[in-house]
């Protein structure tokens, strides 16, 4: 457990000193919300029905952007090698690292999502479910995106490649996340979709760190 605490503390410290890394995805999210608002035109009624899905897609893209460079800094300065060499369970270290990462990206996006939803005319009764679905969905996205990030970490221009690899794997999370938000916005019960989202998160929590560890070991040999 010590390794997890040490990893989280260290990553928070790094995140605090490299604040821009956490700000960029949030700024990207806010800007794309504005662009969507402008692109859809001022028709309020047309927007409201689609808005939960739009917020979800934008949050998904922002998470992808943030996750893509997750291991790059550690790879460049050699920290990643130490992570693989220290002999303690890699699963725990990876999980702790992803938790710390999610706290400075997905959590902030989740907190901002009701605001984004309001701006895009999501009905007020849909806002809590939008935030709840993102709270369950963004950690799952981070876990899945981390696999792609780990596979492409050694490649100079891995950004778009990581997205091409990860986006198809995001499909189930998007379906249930956006589904829950859309159900709630139209007055139906979102319970089923939220439960499925929780199941996806549980599966990702138990399986993805193994895949990330495996991918990091392959990538470290570049």
């Amino acid at each position: 457990m010590n390794i997890a605490v040490a990893q989280v503390r260290r990553d928070f410290l790094v995140a605090f000193h490299a604040r821009a890394d956490a700000v960029h995805p949030v700024a990207f999210f806010a800007l794309t919300v504005v662009l969507f608002g402008l692109g859809m035109g001022p028709e309020r009624h047309a927007m409201g029905a689609l808005a939960p899905g739009m917020v979800w897609v934008l949050a998904l893209l922002a998470t992808m952007m943030a996750t893509e460079g997750l291991f790059r800094r550690d790879f460049e300065d050699g920290t990643l090698e130490q992570l693989l060499l220290h002999g303690r369970p890699l699963f725990v270290a990876v999980l702790a690292k992803l938790f710390a990462h999610w706290c400075v990206t997905g959590l902030i996006l989740t907190a901002l999502s009701p605001l984004a939803g309001l701006m895009l005319q999501v009905p007020p009764e849909g806002l809590p479910v939008l935030a709840a679905s993102l709270a369950l969905g963004t950690p799952a996205l981070t876990l899945i995106g981390a696999i792609a990030a780990a596979l492409t970490v050694g490649l100079g221009r891995g950004g778009v490649l990581a997205a091409v690899i990860a986006l198809p794997l995001f499909v189930p999370v998007l379906i249930f996340g956006a589904g829950a938000s859309l159900s709630a916005a139209s007055g139906a019960s979102p319970a089923g979709e939220l439960l499925m989202l929780g199941a996806l998160l549980a599966a990702a929590l138990t399986l993805a760190p193994f895949a990330v560890g495996l991918a990091l070991r392959v990538s470290q040999e570049y």
Binding site: V164, P172, I175, F176, M196, V218
Partner: protein, 248 residues
């Protein structure tokens, strides 16, 4: 060592595969061409028309085998990925390299024939229905494997990275399938399953079965041919390859 173990270790040797696979290639190719010709002519020309869809259903003889292969090939890549990571078998790595483009092409055929079939029966080229969506996602999973392989310069490393991705993708294929199944589904349920008698008369499903086997044989021929090329490319510096090139 048991017979199987010996066979298994031999399969790991690209040279052994190369020496042995020529008759397989010819056999699969001949079987594929014959079966596909028989099945397609039978299905398009002689099978009875459908009572609702008329003649437009006949695209089933191309669509169903290719859609089935699209998924089967991806799962095969996932199995090969495990073999790559556990036993570091070169041939399994080559199998992934060769299967990805073939699988992508087959998935493309399934999507294209599906769209053509969808136009007269559903009234739209594309619908966001469960199965069409999951096959489209499958297409992008193939794209991802190819893109990853091409981005990594070192062959053995590209192989292992692609193996990890193939396994992750294989775990995801059923999740994607079931998640989209929850939507309102327009696509009919599977018409032929292993557990129940087919819902169509033999005059319809026998040519389908022939085409099924034909597709499998032809794709197997493509894969064997691709693997042979891949073996030659990777082992280009080996003496036996030089000897073989000198002889032929």
């Amino acid at each position: 060592m048991g017979r199987f173990t010996t066979w298994f270790y031999r399969m790991g040797s690209p040279r052994w595969f190369f020496d042995l696979s020529r008759p397989w290639l010819v056999g699969f190719l001949v079987a594929g061409i014959v079966l596909l010709t028989v099945g397609t002519v039978w299905g398009l020309g002689f099978a009875p028309p459908d009572y609702q869809q008329g003649d437009s259903y006949r695209i089933i003889y191309i669509h169903v085998p290719s859609a089935h292969l699209a998924e089967a090939l991806y799962v095969a890549m996932g199995v090969a990925g495990i073999v790559v990571l556990v036993w570091r078998m070169k041939l399994a790595d080559m199998f992934i390299a060769v299967t990805a483009p073939v699988g992508m092409a087959i998935t493309g055929i399934a999507l294209l024939t599906g769209a053509i079939w969808g136009r007269p029966t559903w009234g739209a080229w594309w619908v966001w229905d469960a199965r069409t969506t999951s096959v489209l996602v499958l297409f992008f999973l193939y794209v991802g494997i190819m893109a990853l392989r091409q981005a990594i310069p070192r062959a053995d490393q590209a192989g292992r990275a692609a193996a990890v991705l193939a396994i992750v993708g294989t775990v995801n294929v059923p999740i994607i399938k079931y998640s989209v199944d929850w939507w309102l589904t327009l696509h009919q349920p599977a018409s032929i399953t292993f557990t129940a008698a087919p819902a169509m008369p033999p005059s319809m499903w026998v040519p389908l079965l022939v085409n099924f086997l034909g597709f499998y044989s032809l794709v197997a021929a493509f894969l064997v041919a691709g693997l042979r090329n891949e073996v030659l490319r990777r082992e280009a510096d080996a003496q036996w390859v030089r000897d073989w090139v000198g002889r032929s």
